[in-house]
Symmetry: C2
Subunit: 442 residues, 2 copies
């Protein structure tokens, strides 16, 4: 092409719209090294500050997608759909949604991630099931997908390699929180699975990456516009992450909570996870064209959950991916009896006014329940069971939740951090946050 | 300090004012490698787009100055002053100003640069004098300064090393044209010579780096504010660079023009160089406190020029720095008889409406009269003698100027480029640009 990095940087620096060719030249240069890292980071900062149009976001997504392998599952004749969440605390819906949607006749080739910082990751949760293998090669993934209707694996080195290099640069240069860069990163990885439909769960609140609702809404809209530009049916839900989703935060205990939901045995404390999973699943089914309307799709996913069809798919997936399927019949098998339960008690009487969900996530990560750094090891048994929810009345000494931990000073510190993450006040809050704040469709 | 680059980048990214400590930590990190290049370039882009306050500019200047050696000429009891030009075509005033100011009792420890792109450099011009050495070590420089009242050398590796690394990054990331970054780069190098007074010649027009007059004025103001913040008496002149300054562009011929001025033998075509040199020199003398008023300073520099005192200082400097002083008596010695004169003729009759001075500079660089790249060799004999000036009437076939070149196809192309750099129209332009547009003092 012979395009100079400087000219492309200057164009964005001056607030211009990059052409498709300029965007492609940038992404190619990042992968083949003809762009120096310091040139790429200068452009990333210019994008952060000057933004990108929908056309640019689509071009960036396509270029990043094209930097790697695009999976072809055309041999599977079912419609294909996936879900992506921007991440939160206790956000375990993928484990319920994938089998639920598969049970409704839509294939789900789900490529998931690891937890980092305050958020958990689907791969870590799955690995809490004894024997479960997330490192499938593509032919195994394809086989599981064909047999079960869904399969789970991590991103391979072949998918969107440009994203890996750019993410490392963004992380070191404070350009992670740029809507166009987030959009291209998410969409390039998701579209690599050859989907017809994609539903996005964009979270906002204390446990989300975008705490600010306005920014989260803008992200949701940009994702939906870009998805459509790329030829994929896309919808987004703007959802609450102002407290953990469900009661379980951790790895083994989150899987437990999901199995209980699929067994019809979950209580009120998991109502939000169940409802959000049903709604996201229904939207995937409808968007993929496997139901004539949202109402029909919603009825079908509810039936699939209540009939045990979703649990049956889950069991077959666990078997196919090497895990111990007995956890489906006896979720207590996921409990590690060497772990200790520590009560996190309220020091005041009053009402839970607010919860710093991210702080709960970070406190857990500090004792092995998550990762502070990419290279950290996870202890699947470490977790937190939240009992008090926003708006709830608590008395002094009443447990806000239970911490599952290995005894020691770090665990005491984590318990204190979690306690401090709750704001208990004198008056009941005016309103409790709504689970689903908005549906963003094209 | 333990300051994380990310936190500093984020602060500037979000439009904040960096603290003195943050700026110092950045500059230190660029030099010691604790900041990666890609982090530095992200901050440079954020500075480009979000700007810097005067306090930040001063902090950046001081930190860059402090990254290297600060020269101490306190053994010389004269006041010390210097001039800096933002660069132009035919801009040779340093060669006249340094001896002129020295003749008025103000020492000038002048650290100069090389030409690059369309602009010439003082060091290259001086090297057109047979034998002249610009690579002095510090003790030689000090000796010449003490004996002659002025000395000329290039920047050493010890002066503001942070500037070298940052400039290389700016050049590769389109962040050169940022006023705060220009200010800190200029001021940190100039202040390393331990000055009491500094006069800046900020050029605007077709041959300047800042063609836009508003931007050039903003730069001039930022330079003056920052100079004062750093404790140096500073003034700036905003001057015209919409056509070459004087008639001579090149290296040997520019030195010739300066010697003719100092000999009192220059004609009307060098009137602007002479006037600008006198005015800049007078301001240096006044600002350094060696004259009670601008008027007195102006009278003294005029006298020093007319009396031959400036030429005498020049002669002694040439001798001390190893050059052939006979050029002072016989400037024709600088002519290279192997060079050919090519007439650049007007193809139309009419009035010179505009001149693209930068294009003349680049055309000369393409045939060895300047440098397209840092590593290019200079042919001192290559040059251009501009005859037609803006507003002047020309007839068809009349020479716009004479090109001194080595015959060949490149020379023909250069002549054609210079011809095309002149816009000749039917009507005389309403007004001829003023040489000195504005004086910016604190």
């Amino acid at each position: 092409m012979g395009m100079r990095p400087q000219d492309i940087i200057r164009n964005k620096r001056d607030g211009g719209e990059l052409s498709r060719e300029e965007v492609a030249s940038f992404v190619r240069g990042v992968v083949d090294g003809t762009w120096a890292d310091y040139q790429a980071s200068a452009l990333l900062m210019a994008v952060y500050l000057n933004g990108m149009t929908t056309v640019e976001m689509e071009a960036l997504t396509q270029a990043m997608l094209g930097s790697g392998e695009v999976l072809d599952f055309s041999e599977i004749e079912l419609p294909k759909a996936d879900k992506h969440s921007t991440g939160g605390v206790g956000d375990k819906t993928s484990l319920v949604i994938a089998p639920l949607v598969a049970a409704c006749g839509v294939a789900v080739p789900m490529i998931s991630g690891r937890g980092l910082g305050h958020t958990g990751g689907t791969l870590d949760k799955l690995e809490a099931i004894p024997g479960y293998r997330v490192h499938l090669d593509l032919s195994e993934f394809r086989k599981v997908l064909a047999r079960v209707g869904y399969a789970m694996m991590g991103q391979t080195a072949e998918i969107a390699p440009a994203d890996k290099r750019l993410y490392a640069l963004r992380d070191a240069t404070e350009t992670v929180e740029s809507i166009p860069l987030i959009v291209a990163s998410i969409m390039s990885k998701k579209l690599a699975a050859g989907l017809g439909a994609l539903v996005l769960d964009v979270k906002t609140g204390s446990g989300a990456f975008m705490r600010d609702e306005g920014r989260a809404r803008a992200l949701a809209k940009a994702l939906v516009r870009t998805g459509h530009s790329c030829g994929v049916q896309t919808e987004a839900l703007l959802t609450d992450m102002s407290q953990p989703l469900g009661a379980a935060v951790g790895n083994a205990n989150e899987v437990q909570e999901c199995i209980l939901i699929m067994r019809g045995e979950s209580g009120d404390e998991a109502r939000d996870v169940r409802e959000l999973s049903l709604e996201l699943a229904a939207r995937m089914v409808a968007l993929a064209g496997a139901a004539g309307s949202h109402e029909e799709a919603r009825r079908r996913v509810e039936r699939a959950l209540e009939s045990g069809a979703a649990l049956e798919r889950f069991r077959r997936n666990v078997e196919e991916q090497g895990g111990d399927p007995r956890v489906c019949d006896d979720p207590d098998r996921l409990s590690d009896l060497t772990v200790r339960e520590v009560r996190v008690e309220s020091v005041h009487a009053g009402y839970v006014e607010a919860v710093d969900a991210a702080e709960i996530g970070r406190a857990l990560a500090s004792i092995g329940g998550g990762r502070a750094r990419v290279e950290d090891k996870i202890d699947p048994a470490v977790g937190y069971h939240a009992r008090a929810r926003t708006g709830q009345q608590v008395s002094t000494g009443e447990p806000l939740g239970l911490l599952y931990c290995r005894p020691g000073p770090k665990a005491d510190a984590a318990a204190a951090r979690i306690r401090a993450a709750y704001t208990v006040g004198d008056a009941a809050p005016d309103r409790v946050p709504e689970l689903i704040k908005e549906v963003i469709a094209q």
